[in-house]
Symmetry: C2
Subunit: 440 residues, 2 copies
């Protein structure tokens, strides 16, 4: 039974020099010498040294410290002593009582040399042992908070739209299907249709953070079968520029908040400086982007209309060289490679009012003005070979006064990847899901 | 093509008397008389009257207003005129230009007499036509913001855990299964296991808002197959009291915020006063609750250990009479009706440290201190007849120093139901999902 002495966080120990406090955390480094015992305890705010002089037989503290295994959960009550010799903040805790709340088995199944797949198998230990992993989730929290702050101030409403759909959304490809009582259901590949329904329902600006499912057998460092999407949809826009403007200001606001709260810690743990981007971000049409790339010798097979990852990286390098900016909106994607619901340019009906946002060469967003005219939408669906049956409920929204609107979807983990300089999306989420990974 | 005159919201018209502004919204009431045309325009902030004196042939404004159908999306530019005779805020807009951005088909498929199922079929029109429905989502936004504010201030981290699982969670009953490449996956019935993994990963306090899936063929007014759960998990607790204390303070904070932002509007639209609850909430053991109920004559078949909805309502009425409080924590649920991972009472191993929170007689939360001792957890799983194979990854977390912890899950729509006095959960979400409803 744990007694109710209140907990002191490691980061606050300095304020309690000379006092008796109770620290809760995990035993890490264990150095047990003949006369002294040293244990480092870690909580989510830092690490502290426990120093105990052995008193021999009947010394309960000595026995408890001796029994400790690495990563055991402990509660240590003792006196905070100022000791400039101690590396961890010039402080040590001299224990009066050591309670082992949960003893860890030894040896641990992972260590500092364990590869990523084995680390992911024991993700709880992987995250706990590496303070930078914990920092990632603190950054995620602040990033979302910053995006919400901006969106709420702009009048957005937080929506939670269903992930279960009665018909396969969009194209029907890459959709997970499931048995739903006596019929089939499908997992939403994005909240796309539902956030547009919310616009048709008179919600002025939609903000949603939620899971997105893709039955795509992709094994790249930036794909997952389930990821967290940040979705925004804006009603009554004058054009796609309103959407890009909203996104760049939302990102700049959120990144400023992250830089302020975690800039130093991110620099220390990840070696990355968080540069708060200036707005507006550079914009470039797809045609311009391709011209720039081809001038630079980029001409891959099968990427004549879209950019491939290599093209995205080269383009970002070019833009950063020209403008000093890490972001670039690529606009006016060809209609052939965009979904039927992207609005077409009035002047160039072969082009859409759709865009991608690249950050340091990684696509973090797809967005567009949507086609809100029922007849045009029907034509564009037919042109893509889509039957209107499964789209009936969606198309209905456009028959009764759906206003002009547009929006974007952002991959949260991709933003974190770029922000923290991570090599793989597997490290940017708590529990990764891919074609070969459904556990833990 | 929409011109870029900036938009004025209806609620701000009073500030623009005498000026030319542009309003965007939906045409509602259309009264076209021989000399005058009156149209009410609604946006998400209110309704305004458009008043036009017919000028006859060549009057483009007259023609546009004449062509309008109810719920058409319009953009109206005109002069704001102070007119005390007008019911809608003593203001009217005298139009210079009327643009029909999207004409609604007539007649509309739903009207004021349409029943709930047909309204749900056209939920976008249902929500758009009823300002109280839009208010619900504004309340939801503020409620979540209030909960997040409290949780962040308490040091919580926002997590997004997977909804795809490799094994059926918890009991295996009521789980949706899907084909996942070459094997099966299951939809998470709650983030329970994953939020506990986050605790084992050293995340001190977990906060998650996300979808929860239940393959339950329930047709009550309070069940859904997919709903939004608000989940909290707290590490290093001294006992289950810490969990209840966190929840009641979080709710009180969030409800105070909702009352401040929307109290008047909720009273007007829903006829409900938002009472900010005092903390602590009343607490009562299940044994006490049953005694109270049996004294009052409640003794239903098949509800000897748990409370049925009727019992919950009666209990709430009793508590409100005794204490004046709308909330009550029912604690010490019998182990037989709680999951294996609820910690048992040390004194009474037949009882758990699990609780429910009732608000006005509706269960809005289940919570507990969790069993964090690996050996005890194994025993309790075996006692419930659970094989440890599918639980392997979960049980692993308890082998390497998992701290004492506990938490709760709250149904967001249930909170909104009680808060706004709604009869059915179908009205408390944007797009309801039940055994017979997968659309729109």
């Amino acid at each position: 039974m744990i007694r109710s002495t209140s907990r002191t966080l490691v980061r606050d120990l300095r304020r309690h020099v000379g006092e008796t406090v109770s620290v809760r955390g995990w035993a890490t480094t264990l150095r047990r010498q003949s006369r002294m015992q040293f244990v480092v305890v870690r909580d989510h705010t830092g690490t502290a040294q426990i120093t105990h002089r052995r008193r021999g037989a009947g010394d309960a503290v000595e026995a408890a410290l001796e029994s400790l295994t690495a990563e055991s959960a402990v509660r240590i009550t003792g006196t905070v002593v100022d000791n400039p010799v101690v590396k961890l903040g010039g402080l040590e805790l001299v224990p009066h009582e050591v309670e082992v709340l949960n003893r860890a088995e030894a040896p641990l199944p992972i260590d500092d040399r364990t590869g990523i797949e084995q680390r992911l198998d024991r993700r709880f230990l992987d995250v706990r042992r590496r303070p930078e992993a914990g920092l990632l989730f603190a950054v995620q929290t602040t990033l979302e908070q910053g995006m919400r702050e901006f969106a709420y101030a702009a009048g957005a409403t937080e929506m939670h739209t269903p992930k279960l759909m009665g018909a396969a959304s969009e194209s029907g490809a890459d959709v997970f299907a499931l048995d739903y009582f006596d019929r089939s259901a499908y997992l939403a590949q994005s909240p796309q249709f539902f956030k547009q329904m919310a616009i048709a329902a008179g919600i002025d600006k939609v903000f949603e953070v939620g899971p997105v499912f893709r039955a795509e057998p992709s094994f790249t460092s930036r794909h997952a079968t389930e990821f967290t999407g940040v979705d925004v949809e804006l009603a009554w826009i004058d054009g796609v520029e309103d959407v890009m403007s909203f996104e760049e200001r939302m990102l700049a606001h959120a990144l400023a908040k992250v830089a302020e709260a975690h800039g130093d810690a991110v620099a220390e743990r990840f070696g990355t400086d968080i540069a708060v981007p200036e707005t507006p971000f550079p914009r470039m049409t797809m045609a311009e982007a391709q011209e720039v790339l081809r001038r630079g010798g980029w001409d891959p097979e099968g990427a004549k209309e879209d950019l491939d990852p290599e093209g995205e990286r080269r383009l970002a390098a070019h833009v950063e060289e020209e403008t000093g900016h890490e972001f670039v909106f690529v606009t006016h994607y060809p209609a052939t490679i965009r979904p039927f619901y992207h609005m077409r340019s009035a002047e160039r009906p072969d082009l859409t009012l759709g865009f991608d946002l690249l950050w340091k060469g990684l696509e973090i967003t797809t967005g567009a003005q949507r086609e809100h005219r029922h007849d045009v939408l029907l034509e564009q669906a037919a042109e893509k070979g889509l039957g209107t049956g499964p789209l009936r409920d969606y198309l209905d929204c456009f028959r009764y006064g759906c206003p002009p609107h547009g929006g974007f979807g952002m991959g949260l983990a991709r933003v974190l990847m770029v922000l923290l300089g991570l090599d793989s999306i597997r490290e940017a989420v708590f529990l990764f899901r891919g074609p070969h990974r459904l556990t833990p």
